[in-house]
């Protein structure tokens, strides 16, 4: 998977490294700001109230 991505990035090694870093950061940002906030309320360990 990662090998496939690496082979398909354009440019010389330096350019590939930069693009790869940007891709990783983009994925991390997507997880932190979109995926996790969406997933979180659906998980059970955030209950702090007594049920009424």
């Amino acid at each position: 998977m990662y090998g496939f991505i690496w082979r398909h990035l354009p440019g010389p090694t330096a350019a590939k490294a930069v693009i790869a870093l940007v891709l990783v950061l983009a994925v991390v940002a997507l997880l932190l700001f979109v995926v996790f906030p969406w997933v979180e309320p659906r998980l059970p360990f955030n209950d702090v109230t007594v049920d009424r």
Partner: protein, 270 residues
């Protein structure tokens, strides 16, 4: 005649001949299918592990950072509201769900510990700050001012709530007054269960134990027997199996902010 190795040599993919040299040209045909699959599965598992680790970082640190900003905005909002409030004697009404209600100060949890409490205890409000159970008493009123807050993440308002000792002040700031509540129990011995009312200063209960936020804590349906404050959060840390409950009782009459703008002495003790 026939060389036994010959069939092997010619029939199999000689992958040892094709190990890509580092920096060499990409291997066009690549590895046999099973290798590709196993490697792909391995990479997927490693990726899943990293994503889970990142989620822990998000829960424990990132939500705190985000919440810091939210609390900053809420502090501004509630001070604006207080500035507009008339100087008349305080007439507390519960705000709409999601609106700020009061500011909570707990010196034991940090010298400048202050959190804006919102009306309502759904996930939406609790993500912004501690939430006031709708329908429970308002600051200073007879009954039970019940507040829920996250233990870990979302600003972790009640992370160290288990460190509150008997006699510790919990100060609630409203537009015009400071209300000083004190954790029930004996400050001298640290025993939570000495109060004459029978209400403990701290207890750990199951999530279905709703009577802790009853007007008189632990006495469902009874009339209020005093002005109490109750904090609820999850217990143990990182779990939602039980609830940590802290009960406090109003100590003395409210301190007017006009008289002591910097807060009551309880705010700086300890």
């Amino acid at each position: 005649m026939a060389d036994p190795d010959q069939g092997l040599e010619s029939g199999r993919t000689q992958r040892w001949d094709r190990v890509p040299s580092l920096g060499g040209p990409p291997v066009p045909q690549g590895d046999p299918l099973w290798r590709v699959l196993v490697r792909g599965a391995g990479e997927l598992l490693v990726t899943a592990g990293l994503v889970l680790l990142l989620f822990v970082v998000y829960e424990v640190y990132v939500t705190d950072l985000l919440n810091d900003r939210t609390q900053g905005d809420l502090t501004e909002q509630i001070h604006d509201q207080w500035d507009q409030a008339a100087a008349a004697p305080e007439n507390l009404v519960a705000p709409a769900v999601g609106q700020p209600l009061a500011v909570l100060h707990i010196p034991r949890l940090g010298e400048d510990y202050s959190r804006v409490v919102l009306e309502g205890v759904s996930e939406e409000q609790l993500a912004e700050g501690p939430g006031h159970y709708t329908g429970t008493a308002l600051p200073g009123q007879q009954g039970n001012l019940a507040i829920a807050g996250h233990r870990v993440g979302k600003g972790s308002p009640f992370l160290d709530a288990d460190e509150l000792l008997p006699g510790d002040p919990i100060v609630v700031e409203t537009a015009q007054n400071w209300y000083v509540y004190r954790v029930l129990g004996d400050p001298a011995t640290g025993d939570y269960t000495t109060d004459a009312s029978g209400i403990p200063g701290q207890q750990i209960v199951t999530p279905s134990h709703v009577s802790v936020i009853a007007p008189t804590p632990d006495a469902a349906d009874a009339a209020p027997s005093g002005a109490y404050l109750t904090l609820t959060t999850c217990h143990p840390r990182y779990s939602a199996r039980q609830r940590l409950i802290v009960h406090a009782v109003l100590d003395g009459s409210p301190v007017s902010k006009a008289d002591s703008p910097a807060g009551p002495p309880a705010l700086t003790e300890g």
